[in-house]
Amino acid sequence: MRRSMLAFSVLLTLTVGLAAAPTGAHAQKPFKIGAIVPVSGPAAAFGLGVQRGLELAAEDVGVFTVAGEKYKVDVVTYDTVYAPDKTVAAINRAVYNDGVKYGVIIGAGVHPPILPIIRETGFLDFAFAAAGRQITNPENPTAFRIMASSDQLYQTYTVEIAQKLGAKRIAFLGPNDELGKNDAKAIKTEVDKMKAKGVSFVAEEYYERGARDFGPALLRLIAQKPDIIDTDGSPTGSIALIAKQARELGYNGHFVNSTAVLEAKAISDIAGKAGDNIIALRIWANPPTKLYTELAERHQKKWGEAAPGTLWETYGAARWLIDTIVKVSTFDTKKVADALGNSSYASHPFGPASWGGEKAYGIKRQIVIPIPAAILKNGKWEPFDVRSGKFE
């Protein structure tokens, strides 16, 4: 009989796996929103910001009724560790196992493998991911970008910053992945517009994501004597090291970080004074609305640390979504998506919000919210400019 033990255990495991039971229900019916984000590993800060933004939105919404039924928001987190195959596993589990039809997904790099699943299942994806047309286009009607896209940021700010600083030579240093290659094209098109005014694109280098020594890449770059180095969406750790090592190599111009969410204190810890003159887009030096400050304080009280930069845009998008669902009184993602795309929302933490991108992407799925810029001076953000962020 002992021979059967192994075959039996294999059979048992597979059967248990095959018939996993769905989860139980609460008093009100749960309206599940997924946070398909990295909550461990290097990009954990981004993921936790999204998770907590959804939780704060759930608290503020409380109970809401759709088609006569009472619902309460239930935030479900899936850790993708920022890896493509893990994200596919997460979306499969969310959509098919847990019945989740709405969610925030972080990362331009992890979107390609899951967009087919989003198209097939109609999953309403709030993409917290830069890049551009690859995600928001007519083939993916239920994919929205809830942060400024790369094209939007570069169109809004590249010319503006160059003029304000009187910069003539612009260089690019980005991560060696889809984000970096895509944003390099975006900045080059913008810089070309200023050719007449003598502004030129002088150098382009890429670094391995998570690299620590930027000496090799910076050497060539700094030899071109740039006035501005655009560091694309380099995360806090990377931009701090880039600034420090660039100053060590004698560069004292400005840095522009477009799509990333930067933490001032961490940068000044790592780079000290070398961190000054980093211009970060999408960072508010002064809170734009009362709601923005309130959320920051609630986060500090509840989790005991400063709020990661992804908190506010997630909160705003979630509140806007639930308002729309209540208005159209259905959970059908196609209907909600159409209604959402044509609606606007006044109480987004960044200010009045609407959707754009009809001309650029062929569909109104790109959030249009005021885009701030801040400049780092001795460890604190100072206001640099605020643009409306309009985007056709």
Partner: protein, 288 residues
């Protein structure tokens, strides 16, 4: 893009400094492989623990520099003895199990690191800030300090391995453990010591490199991948080989970047690795 001599000199200087850092990081790995014939996958994580130790001692507990070093030294020594006693010794001779066990240890330390670390990038304040400029070539002081420490540690290691009785015993059990045992060498004690010294080297490397590169629990993986690269090129178990390979990779990467751009230079390093493997499978100075 024309390349003028100043830039090449700067590239070379950065390359040498970075190369010494690579040597400092890979040193512990080479020693443990050389003496115990174990490829310690957890080497990167001990390096990370050294950096985390430096952070918690200096920043959180505000210990003076000397005390921090002492804490890191003792902690890594003990950890080395414990790991050797509990894991490595019971698997002596079972090469396959040893390697996979060290993968297990590395996973445990790394995941505990991420769970305890929280989400904020942390950094160890460096003792030497600023830059020294020599003939127009700018050398960051903290890297010079780390390089100096690297040179000192390499020298100490040479003295230990080639000038002391324990070193002789270490080389004996490297050559042929049974014969060494028969000649009265307490192989277990020497193996434990070698493992402990390997751990100390990794932890010190972490402590001195942390100020330069900031730290997070994932830094161990980068360190182990680079160290693998270097011991493949330099030759397993050969300290001289590691020093040569570390400098070669450092210079190749930065001078290569000046001439060809960082991306291609990064690829170049791998091409060198493959060529060395085919021409001299045991690395420049290793023994197959």
């Amino acid at each position: 893009m024309e390349v003028y001599p100043h830039l090449l000199a700067q590239g070379l200087a950065i390359g040498v400094l970075t190369g010494i850092l690579y040597v400092l990081v890979a040193l512990g790995l080479t020693l443990i492989y050389g003496i115990l014939h174990i490829v310690n996958f957890a080497h990167g994580e001990i390096y990370m623990l050294g950096a985390m130790g430096a952070f918690y001692c200096l920043v959180v507990f505000k210990l003076p520099f000397a005390a921090t070093l002492a804490v890191i030294l003792v902690a890594s020594l003990l950890l080395g003895l414990v790991v050797e006693r509990l894991v490595f010794r019971s698997l002596r001779g079972q090469w396959l199990q040893l390697v996979v066990a060290s993968v297990g240890i590395s996973l445990i330390i790394q995941s505990l690191g991420w769970i305890a670390f929280g989400i904020q990038e942390k950094n160890v304040p460096s003792f030497f800030t600023g830059v020294v400029s020599v003939l127009g070539v700018r050398l960051p002081k903290e890297r010079l300090l780390a390089a100096a420490v690297g040179v000192v540690l390499v020298a100490l290691l040479y003295v230990l391995v080639y000038r002391t009785k324990t070193g002789l015993a270490m080389r004996a059990i490297e050559e042929d453990e049974e014969t060494a045992r028969m000649l009265g060498v307490d192989a277990d004690r020497v193996a434990a010591l070698a493992c402990a010294v390997g751990f100390v080297l990794a932890a010190l490397a972490g402590a001195f490199v942390a100020p330069i590169y900031s730290l997070n629990p994932g830094m161990g993986l980068e360190a182990i991948l680079m160290s693998f690269l270097i011991i493949i090129v330099g030759g397993l178990g050969s300290i001289t080989g590691t020093v040569l390979a570390g400098l070669l990779v450092g210079v190749l990467q930065s001078v290569g970047a000046v001439l060809l751009g960082a991306e291609i230079a990064y690829g170049l390093v791998f091409v060198v690795m493959i060529v060395v493997l085919i021409v001299r499978p045991a690395g420049l100075l290793g023994r197959a």
